[in-house]
């Protein structure tokens, strides 16, 4: 069945069920308000209706169109377009979710009412908040939202900054230097900065062969680092640092490239990779080790929970939102759940896949709780595919359970094996592309 036929069939099926429409006007089964129409919020709304069509589910989201962050670095190398990142909310509407384009401004936790900028007062039995991240531009001297929007984009929440960065990279002078300043932990999409470096190294090799990518990093390592560096070694002339080279060489043969020929350099934390200051006018970035003259800078600042979390009083002094692990109930406000990047979730990374499985656990917990049944045993998963090149896929894959009150990984192997076959590596890249579509469908359709 062609994809659009499937979607039409889904729509027809949902609309042809009068009971489902009637149920929306009844509040007997319960009212759930979901704030934030990203991966976490959209998945919650969809699965609440799947689990109990009689629930009244309202999704509050400030933008009528979602720009998906996952896969958005592929705009930079021209592999996809800004338009292709856009996802609407009609799929959720067809499932009976009431989508309200509005901004949440406050909550009355005693009365259980959410207030919006549009003057709405939405009563709820349960409130689910999926606020995403806020980029802390001001944490880096010389950086600000205004600078990010005009000259040194972060592109970590996709939108105009992503388009600006793509334009800058395409126009970069021959042989120029592209600096990616990676953020400190914890942050959204742990393999993301390194995948972005790889995709641009690949693009430069074809279109600007003497150009270089330099990653300035406050950290000493990153998730998928060994497999990513092996890919960089095979594709872009990268020589991994000695400690990594030793580990990788136990399973795979590393090429030894001549110094100065690599398309990627990684200035790690122990080498002074932490960014101290930005001079956006001069396009200079000062790290602990050196001041780098760049042609294009992608500065990804530290992050905290999205502004909504602070507005509603859900974040603690770390900037993130503490929750009960079993059902992601806020420990700060009753009858409120916080999911996705904003939540403190132990071993789970801040990823769309994590938010998606957290949403399903929360949706089920809410349905059971409203029906007076006990909370079910949770299980979560995360898979992050990442590309070391457009035909070179790698990943981290984890299954999580609740153990001793913490979210704990239960599988042992997590990464693409260092001795993976060329077929496995190619399949990884193909699955990464397929995942972008199947995931969007599971969240929004």
């Amino acid at each position: 069945m062609k994809r659009r036929h499937l979607l039409h069939a889904l729509a027809a099926g949902a609309l042809a069920t009068p009971a489902l429409l009637r149920a929306q006007t009844s509040t007997a089964a319960g009212r759930v308000v979901v704030v934030g129409g990203g991966v976490g919020g959209a998945t919650t709304a969809k699965y609440l209706k799947l689990f109990n069509p009689a629930l009244q589910v309202t999704l509050v989201e400030r933008s009528p169109v979602y720009i998906r962050p996952y896969g958005s670095s592929e705009v930079l190398n021209g592999h996809t377009t800004m338009q292709a990142l856009e996802v609407g909310y009609d799929g959720l509407r067809r499932r009976g979710v009431q989508v309200l384009i509005d901004t949440a401004t406050g909550v009355d936790a005693t009365q259980r009412v959410l207030r919006t900028a549009g003057g709405q007062r939405l009563p709820y039995d349960r409130l689910v908040v999926s606020p995403g991240i806020e980029l802390m531009y001001d944490a880096i001297p010389g950086y600000s939202a205004a600078v990010a929007e005009s000259r040194v984009p972060s592109g970590w929440i996709p939108g105009a900054q992503t388009a600006l960065l793509a334009q800058q990279l395409r126009a970069m002078r021959p042989g120029g230097t592209f600096v990616i300043a990676a953020p400190p932990n914890p942050y959204r999409c742990p393999p993301g900065p390194y995948e972005r470096a790889a995709l641009m190294a690949e693009w430069f090799a074809r279109h600007n062969p003497r150009a270089k990518v330099l990653i300035a990093d406050p950290k000493g390592g990153f998730v998928t680092d060994e497999t990513m560096m092996l890919g960089w070694n095979r594709l872009y002339g990268f020589n991994p640092p000695e400690d990594y080279a030793k580990k990788i060489a136990t399973k795979a043969e590393l090429k030894r490239h001549a110094d100065g020929t690599s398309g990627i350099a990684w200035l790690r934390g122990s080498q002074g990779g932490r960014v101290l200051k930005l001079d956006a006018k001069a396009m200079r970035i000062e790290t602990e080790a050196e001041t780098i003259q760049a042609d294009v800078i992608n500065l990804i600042p530290p992050m905290k929970a999205g502004r909504l979390a602070a507005t509603l009083g859900l974040a603690d002094s770390t900037g993130w939102c503490p929750v009960e692990r079993r059902d992601f109930a806020s420990t700060r406000l009753p009858h409120v759940h916080v999911i996705g990047d904003a939540s403190i979730a132990d071993a789970m990374p801040k990823s769309g896949f994590s938010a998606n499985t957290q949403a399903k656990v929360v949706a089920r917990a809410i349905v059971e709780a409203l029906a007076g049944r006990p909370l079910p045993e949770p299980v979560w998963e995360n898979t992050c595919y990442a590309l070391a090149g457009s035909g070179y896929g790698l990943f981290v894959a984890d299954v999580f359970r609740l153990q001793d009150g913490k979210i704990t990984r239960t599988n042992q192997a997590r990464f693409l094996p260092l001795d993976a076959s060329p077929q496995q590596i190619r399949l990884g890249a193909r699955y990464q592309q397929a995942w972008l579509r199947s995931f969007t469908e599971d969240v929004f359709a």
């Binding site: 069945m1 062609k2 994809r3 036929h5 499937l6 069939a9 889904l10 027809a12 099926g13 949902a14 069920t17 969809k46 699965y47 799947l50 689990f51 896949f353 998606n356 499985t357 399903k360 656990v361 089920r364 079910p376 045993e377 949770p378 299980v379 979560w380 998963e381 898979t383 896929g393 990943f395 894959a397 984890d398 299954v399 999580f400 359970r401 609740l402 153990q403 990984r409 239960t410 599988n411 042992q412 192997a413 997590r414 990464f415 693409l416 076959s421 496995q424 399949l427 990884g428 193909r430 699955y431 592309q433 397929a434 995942w435 579509r437 199947s438 995931f439 469908e441 599971d442 359709a445």
Partner: protein
């Protein structure tokens, strides 16, 4: 065509089954009773469930809850249209369990399913397999691609 829906049966029987399986696995029980595992065809060896090494310092989750962790790639409720992954809806549970066991042991090569399979015990796999088996698959594509 109906929209994909959670099967109408309550999740509780699955928990009970999963919990019972864990208890049985902890004892001397080695295999699923043939009556439970469908009569195997001559070409199909009987489904043998042994306690996985990783099984269970954690409590049993329902087959449904575990199955929804597959949906990001394999489709909501395992129903997937035109995509590169295997749709799981309607798959005989014996096939689901055996395939996942083979991924887990490395007998069958994979990209990442072997890693994911390590997170599930045999009882988990059986509970998930029964969930997916009960869901109707989407009709096949109208035109070959």
């Amino acid at each position: 065509m109906n929209p994909p829906q959670t099967p109408s049966r309550r999740p509780r029987p699955i928990w009970v089954l999963a919990a019972a399986s864990v208890l049985l696995a902890a004892g001397s029980w080695l295999g699923l009773a043939p009556s439970q595992a469908e009569a195997p065809s001559p070409a199909t060896p009987p489904l043998v469930l042994v306690p996985a090494a990783a099984a269970a310092s954690h409590a049993a989750a329902s087959g449904e809850a575990m199955a929804h962790t597959c949906a990001a790639c394999h489709g909501t409720n395992g129903q997937l249209g035109d995509e590169a992954f295997v749709p799981l809806a309607g798959l005989p549970h014996t096939q689901f369990v055996r395939t996942m066991q083979q991924f887990r042991s490395g007998e069958r090569p994979s990209t990442l399913m072997g890693h994911v399979a390590q997170g599930f015990s045999d009882a988990d796999l059986l509970a998930m397999g029964r969930f997916f088996e009960a869901i109707p698959p989407l009709p096949p594509p109208e035109t070959p691609r």
